[in-house]
Symmetry: C2
Subunit: 407 residues, 2 copies
Amino acid sequence: MEETPKGSRLHIAIFGRRNAGKSSLINALTSQDIALVSDVPGTTTDPVYKAMEILPIGPVMIIDTAGIDDVGDLGALRVERTMQVLNKTDLAVMVIEPEQGVTEFEKELVKAIRKRNLPIAGVINKSDLLSISPEQLAQWSVEIDVPLIGISAKTGQGIEELKRLMIKLAPDDWEGPPLIGDLVSPGDTVVLVVPIDLAAPKGRLILPQVQTIRDLLDNDACAVVVKERELKEALAGLKQPPHLVVTDSQEFMKVGADTPPGVMLTSFSILLARHKGDLETLVTGAKAIDSLEPGDKVLIAEGCTHHRQADDIGKMKIPRWLRQNVGGELEFEWVSGGTFPPDLTKYKLIVHCGGCMLNRREMLYRLATAREAGVPIVNYGLLIAHLHGILHRALAPFPLAQMILTE
Amino acid sequence: MEETPKGSRLHIAIFGRRNAGKSSLINALTSQDIALVSDVPGTTTDPVYKAMEILPIGPVMIIDTAGIDDVGDLGALRVERTMQVLNKTDLAVMVIEPEQGVTEFEKELVKAIRKRNLPIAGVINKSDLLSISPEQLAQWSVEIDVPLIGISAKTGQGIEELKRLMIKLAPDDWEGPPLIGDLVSPGDTVVLVVPIDLAAPKGRLILPQVQTIRDLLDNDACAVVVKERELKEALAGLKQPPHLVVTDSQEFMKVGADTPPGVMLTSFSILLARHKGDLETLVTGAKAIDSLEPGDKVLIAEGCTHHRQADDIGKMKIPRWLRQNVGGELEFEWVSGGTFPPDLTKYKLIVHCGGCMLNRREMLYRLATAREAGVPIVNYGLLIAHLHGILHRALAPFPLAQMILTE
């Protein structure tokens, strides 16, 4: 069910000399999280493709370039192999061994990667064994014109910073998992519950709703679009129960009651959280709501400065719900547009809007920034679902995220 | 079924002194066309509201201001009545009797109308009895600052020019009939057939499709959205046949075959033609296709300059279909964006695009220009439906237009 089309996985090639620590880095990027690893078999000297989840980057294809990691210049065969890998690469990560530092191998590699106009993130590994001075790091960085970070794949130091750099360098057209297309089979019927309230744009639908319909059509499924008040009637009019019901988060309670228990139910927010954010990171954030205590600081962040309605969701509703949940006062701060405040560590929780005005990379960058500061982050839709006690049901199409919630 | 919500009817108040010919003008505006007249009863001295169709303006509410047409200044009672009428007016038409010309009555009236920021079209009537010189017309026009046209309600001279002026002066927010909302009752299911081809925008739906879904939701109906290939399956999955099937014009043949004979079928083009154009005028244009003869000149007009696909519909497909239909060569000319060529009379037919980039007023202005030149005009969708022999079926939701086609 969570099969991600190859096209929407960010393809990350890990380059480096044999002793630089490529494998440890791959483990560090994935091992502290739940990693779904499926190796594509190959000979020991062929590059290995591994489908993985990296939080908060989402589904990726890691290309382990064993076999083109000889120290020294790149021979004819190895150049050809490197080129084959680069043909499939969206982003290159170059792992550098600190004792030898930048050698001819790295310089040749950077040339080959730059020739394809591909982004490169560089790491000096093994900071636990040999600490590199900031001056040395800067000098190497200038020498090969590649951003460099000191990390330790062994201790995990710098890994979150690297993820943030990778997100920043990812290509513009990087799309991530589909909205809904991978959740349906041809001929499936999906019911979309679209309330028409004051926030709905005049004569239109909001973009995620349109994109969901389109994604269903692209995948040979049928979309039944209905307001919450007509949902029961629409379900009764179908000979078979639908494969899935997707609702606007704000109608979750009513829609949950009107949808038969056997039918999978989720929300546009959750689809969007996966499509342009990282569902697992946000579910971890939702769990953190239960650990809030009176007096804690909460940051409410919105991606754009929209016209506020009376009883605005970010300004009024969410603070009210959180106070009720914690049974006491909380200290709220708000930020909108632009970026996060410089010091996130003082917050116990970040609540982010759905990010409809942010692209995937911007959203992931924010998630990565929160992770790096060690602050859980949740979005509006998941928060609402969690506080209404329906998040578990709404995650049914996403077993991995559901597992994180219950563990 | 063709009940037009009051809000979408253009409310046109006809003012003028008692002998100016208000009633004849109302007859002239509507009588050469099929007029659906339903008088709202009132005393003889009260304004009368008449729901009518004026081609190509569409459904209008004519306000006949009998009772406030005394010659002389506007007395207290009459001012109040005038104000009551103006509260409901979108556009004022002032009928002037040529012998007396512009009097205090007209000047007071213009003042009252201008105070409400309402547009005024002025006509000097009875040009068949007393011809007014262009100089005199211009002088009066300047005197009261109102555009004036010389007409004869009796002979019909100038009536089409007046319609064009009325369209030009109509308010910006004039919307016309809904896309689909008046064709459904609460709880109805409507199947929308949305093919996904190269012309579909990436990850989205085209605007008329989104607007149709929204209009259905606004009217408590349920939209089943499906590609043409899944239509049969979707219909089979419904316990009751849908109230209506709406398809993209280009899939009319396949969709017509897959839709049970008892189910009403129409196209987005036809919905759009009514919503932002005038369905009856365009159906008259469709009929004219059958009168084309080899050697005739045909103008193909597009509202915008879009990126042309291979086998472009306006450049390639429609000329090919028309040639096949007429059984010989035709002389085509093309125009896009901007306006029509100055001399339309040389064309036997104008074929216009759906006008998705034009608003209702712009589209109607083009229809009125064609009518004034006496040239039939049809749009892409209606032409396709007619040439495929399915226009009659596709007009089932619109009995008036269907009548025009068969008469």
